[in-house]
Structure formats: C-alpha cells, structure tokens
C-alpha cells in the first residue's frame, strides 16, 4: 500500500482532487464507526466508506488487495455492509455523494436492512487428488476405450476427444457435488450461490457462498463440519468467513 492510503483519517478536499481520488469500499449504515485510513460520507441513513487513492496509475499490490478484503470482512461481523468490487474509484467525495448516495439511497438502505445481522461464509471444495478422474474412468467406459485406442495408435483428434469426454464428465460431477453442498447446508442459511470452476486443473470443484444469520453461525459451522466429515476421503472442504456479502450484492443496483 502506498503512503497516501496509509495516511491518518482525512477528508478529501477539493484541492486534493487533482492527485487523490476517492476509493469506495462499500456502503454502510450512517452510524457505523470507522478507524484508520477510511472515513465516512454520510447521507441520511446511509454512508459511503471511502479512502484516498492516488490517481497515478499503478498495478495494485498484493497487500492492497488483502487489506481491502480484510477491512470489509472485519466490518461485516459487526455491521451490515454492501461491499463494492475492488477498483471502484470516483474523482471526489462530492461525486460519491451526488452520484452514488443520493440517487441510490432507498435501494441501499433496503439492502442494508436485508443484510443486517448476516455475513457471508464461503465453502470451497475440491476432490482428493485424481479421485474424480478415477470415478469418471470407472463410470465412463467410452473414455477408457478411447484411452486404449490411443495407447495402440496415437491420434491427435482422438486424444482431443478423450480430453473432451472426460472434461465434460468432470464438469457434470462438479455441478452435482457443488449443488449437493448448497442443499446440505441450506437449512442453516438465508441464501446460497454456487460457482463452479471450469479449470484446466482437474480437482477443484468450486465454491458455494452462503448468507448466514450471525446468530446461527455456530449451527452453520457445525453443519459444515459434519458435511466435511461425511465427505472425508472424497472431497475436501475449506470454510472461509465470516466475510462481507460479496456474492449477495452483485448486480443488485448495477
């Protein structure tokens, strides 16, 4: 992080606009308490959480990305927050007020009311190494037959077809297993969103984001633990959170 964003709490004045722009972290209730390099621009019941950011272009640093997420995630355990996508920058605080807070006040206030007392948890899942490939080969004799033909006589077209058959079969398994995760934990959450990985790597399945009432956090966590135990030996689950509800605000106002 650069010197400007590390600086003590400050309000951006008109004079700074040429060199410092306004990074928008998220929208929070007006009564939210902040500390460090961020400050609030309040408008009626809501506020924009902002920090200075230099207008000089530069590739964002690893630490800046981590700080951004950490700040929003910390906040999310105590107050509702609408996280903005990283990189949301406006020319000045006046523009934040005029173009973000004023026109969207009612929608933001409603979203904050909906999110109150909730945070996101994210379950990331992957198969144990090579396990899904072995399953596919056991279930899809066509894939194994293709493989045998290739062993006898290499043929690029056939090889591509083998990869394709297996890739599609793996994708179908990912979908089924990710949906199963969402369904298994559904009783403990308010909402769930599934994202599948379609990666060149075989083992990752994807992630399921859950919006969880903080009051039910323990019940949710033990249900996730139970699920991990149930799938032990086939799928590994990794639970992230509590975090800001990134997956539950996309497109809501955009």
């Amino acid at each position: 992080m650069n010197a400007a964003t590390r600086a003590a709490p400050q309000r951006l004045s008109a004079g700074q606009q040429s060199t410092v722009a306004c990074r928008l972290y998220g929208i929070v209730p007006a009564a939210t308490r902040t500390a460090g390099s961020v400050s609030l621009i309040t408008h009626r019941s809501i506020a924009a959480l902002v920090g200075p950011v230099p207008t000089t272009p530069g590739r964002p640093s690893r630490q800046d990305l981590l700080n951004y997420a950490a700040l929003l995630d910390r906040l999310a355990t105590t107050t509702p927050v609408i996280p903005m996508r990283y990189g949301t920058v406006l020319p000045s605080t006046a523009v934040v007020r005029r173009r973000v807070l004023e026109p969207h006040h009612d929608a933001f206030a409603a979203t904050l009311a909906r999110l109150k007392g909730h945070a996101q948890f994210t379950v990331r899942a992957r198969y144990l190494p090579d396990l899904v490939l072995k399953e596919v080969l056991a279930e899809r004799p066509d894939a194994l037959a293709l493989h045998r033909r290739l062993q006898q006589r290499p043929a690029p077209g056939l090889r591509m077809r083998l990869g394709e058959v297996v890739a599609h079969a793996v994708a179908a398994k990912r979908r089924a297993d990710a949906v199963a995760i969402a369904k298994a934990l559904r009783p403990w959450v308010v909402a769930a969103r599934v994202r599948l990985w379609r990666s060149a790597e075989v083992d990752p399945i994807g992630e399921v984001a859950f919006l969880v009432a903080l009051q039910r956090r323990e019940a949710f966590e033990s249900a996730a633990e139970k699920l991990a135990r149930q799938w032990h030996g086939r799928i590994r689950l990794r639970l992230l959170g509590p975090m800001a509800p990134y997956h539950f605000v996309t497109g809501a106002e955009g």
Binding site: L24, L137, R161, A167, V194, R238, T250
Partner: protein, 139 residues
C-alpha cells in the same frame, strides 16, 4: 490421512485468514458494481482480472485432461480395478457414447473461442449480471 479425531474441526479446513488467490477471486469478481461513471482507474487491474479468471474449456484444457487420464490409468492400482470394471460386455455401450461425444464437438469449439458458459453456474441471474458488469468495467 487423519484417523484419530478429537475435536469438531478436524475435517473442515478453517484458514485463519484468506489467501491472496481466494481474495482476488472474490473482490475482483464479486461485490457491487456501480454504473458506468465509476471508472476503474487502477492501471493493470483489468489484466489482473483476466489473469485471475481461470481459463475455460479449450483445446489446451482437453489435452491436459487427456494427459491426466494417461497418468491415472497408468498407475498400477486403478488400472487393475478399472480393467475389471470395464469388461468386454461394455464395449458396445462405449461405442455409442463415443459417437455422442462427436456431436458435442461443436459445443467444444464454441468453448475454445470463449463463447458459451462462464464459470458461474446455478446462481440465477448472477452470471448474466456479472457479464454485463464486466462490460461496463471496460467501457
């Protein structure tokens, strides 16, 4: 692999803080996107976004899967097991499925060109809105 378990968190991985890869996936791809007037002014961000997004099914992906199959089948243990499973009885079934795969080839070309599915699935309107949002980011 763990065999003796004494506490309730032995199976579920609980990192104390998220790693960079996880953070990048979430904060660059999710979170609220405002209207077009919000400029993404940090140079390199778009590039980073593309780097972070995992490449969709393509020729290269298929070849990697084929390679992975070679590796798995050539391992001794699964080989015996699989050979047992897939006997002569299933040969005709196999042929049927292979021709099914051929008809899927058109789809795979679309994938290779980047047309078709993204990474988000089963998330209602998430996928579409995400795509629109990305377009806005670039404009």
């Amino acid at each position: 692999m763990t065999t003796v378990l004494t506490d309730g968190t032995a199976y579920l991985e609980r990192p104390r803080s998220s790693g960079l890869a996880e953070v990048v996936d979430i904060i660059l791809d999710k979170g609220l996107v405002l209207d077009a007037f919000v400029r993404v002014s940090l140079l390199g961000l778009e590039l980073l976004t593309i780097d972070a997004r995992i490449v969709i099914a393509s020729v290269d992906t298929y070849l990697r899967y084929a390679e992975a199959v070679d590796r798995v089948v050539l391992e001794p243990a699964p080989r015996t097991r699989l050979t047992d499973l897939v006997g002569g009885l299933q040969e005709s079934g196999a042929r049927r499925k292979v021709s099914g795969a051929v008809s899927g080839a058109k789809e795979s070309v679309k994938d290779a060109l980047g047309i078709g599915d993204g990474e988000d699935e089963a998330a209602g309107d998430q996928k579409e809105s995400g795509r629109r949002a990305r377009k806005r980011d670039r404009s």
